[in-house]
């Protein structure tokens, strides 16, 4: 059973040329995907050549913005333009076209009964080059798409938390102003006459879309408000209003912290 020692025809391969073509294509695609971008970060020229066009465009937009901000007229150099165009052509046009075309030719050879026993014929090499470029681009684009979705969801969640926090702070400032109005007004004008005792949050302001407001502690010279987010009960803001009308002792908890 030892092929190396006993086999009469050791040149018979255990793999079909198609299998070897595909596995070679995926290998070069994986190497292009994993290794090349990492090396390219150190070198400006190849960075422009390897990075996907959307990333390059974003980079250029930032660079142009900074350049304009510092008073310079932004100009794209010839080599930058060439690299951007080359990246687009190589990864998005040349690779897929080469791959599909050579695939078709190899398929036609097979259908016509032309034996393609050699793995390293011209069409196989073109198939491998085109396939590696296409797989690299496709995998990169899919992962970028997924990552973009995740990052945008995280950003949205973070902004949502910040927005609710800002709204609750606004509500607390408004209610503090009303409480101080109550504090300074005499009893004859429905005020507290230099005391916060008896102050109640109006029903219309107690509950809204952002959250809930409540009085935690009332003393003659001090009142404390608590705001609870409607989206997460753990996100709260505790604030204190002094007899001078100063809002202080802000305490944030949960995601507001």
């Amino acid at each position: 059973m030892n092929q190396k020692i006993d086999s009469a025809n050791p040149k018979v391969s255990e793999f079909t040329p198609e299998f070897l073509r595909w596995i070679t294509t995926t290998t070069f695609g994986a190497i292009l995907l994993v290794l090349i971008p990492r090396w390219s970060y150190a070198q400006t020229l190849s960075q422009f050549f390897i990075l996907p066009p959307p990333v390059q465009a974003a980079g250029r937009t930032i660079a142009i913005g900074l350049s304009e901000f510092s008073g310079h007229t932004p100009m794209l150099s010839g080599i930058e333009l060439f690299n951007m165009l080359a990246t687009l052509i190589v990864f998005y046009i040349f690779g897929p076209v080469l791959w599909l075309f050579s695939w078709r030719v190899l398929h036609q050879f097979k259908a016509a009964g032309t034996p393609i026993t050699k793995i390293m014929n011209v069409w196989s090499i073109l198939f491998i080059i085109g396939g590696a470029l296409t797989l690299r681009t496709g995998f990169n684009e899919v992962t970028n798409m997924v990552m973009n979705r995740i990052v945008s969801a995280q950003l949205y969640a973070a902004q949502d938390v910040q927005r609710t926090k800002d709204q609750l702070i606004g509500d607390l400032i408004t209610i503090s102003n009303e409480a101080y109005d109550y504090y300074i007004l005499p009893k004859s004008l429905n005020g507290g006459n230099k005391s916060y005792e008896g102050f109640c949050i109006p029903l219309s302001q107690e509950n809204n879309d952002h959250g809930q407001l409540m009085i935690v502690d009332t003393q003659p010279q001090k009142i404390m408000f608590l705001a609870i987010s409607s989206k997460n009960n753990l996100n709260t803001i505790l604030v204190s209003l002094s007899s001078t009308g100063q809002v202080s002792e802000w305490k944030f908890s949960g995601e507001y912290n």
Binding site: Q3, K4, I5, E14, F15, L35
Partner: protein, 143 residues
């Protein structure tokens, strides 16, 4: 088992397609997960233990697969494909962690290659053993 010993000692022509396929399998199915692990779990504390385990297990499994599936005795082939793969993996590690910044780190990486190659060899040997047992069973059933 004599065949296995004879093949290692005598040598004979190498099965180049299996060397290439072994390398390709490692690059496709081992390097991408490794890169993802390094990329996304870089700050994870147990990674320093899990990563070598993952690398050695991958090399052993690849060796085992080649040893089991290939015709004849193929023990040197997974070793060569693992050696090629370790070089690629070292480049990946260098790109991610800049491990070759100091010459001492390169030496450490080279020392790590030895257990990796041993794993590939051990896996291939186990694969050959199971292939041999399977063939013996088939022969007995035929008789």
């Amino acid at each position: 088992m004599n065949e296995v010993r004879k093949s290692i000692i005598i040598g004979g022509p190498l099965n180049w397609p299996w060397i290439w396929v072994g390398f390709c399998l490692l690059v496709t199915f081992h390097m991408i997960p490794t890169a993802l692990i390094i990329r996304f779990l870089e700050d994870w504390r147990p990674l320093s233990v899990i990563l070598p385990l993952w690398i050695f297990c991958g090399l052993s499994l690849n060796g085992m697969y080649i040893g089991y599936r290939s015709l004849g005795v193929t023990i040197i082939e997974p070793l060569i494909s693992s050696l090629l793969y370790i070089i690629i993996l070292a480049l990946l590690m260098n790109a991610e962690f800049s491990v070759f910044y100091h010459k001492k780190d390169l030496l450490v990486m080279l020392i790590w290659m030895i257990p990796g190659l041993f794993c590939a060899f051990f896996g291939a040997w186990l694969g050959e053993l199971s292939q041999h047992k399977k063939e013996q069973k088939q022969t007995q059933t035929t008789k």
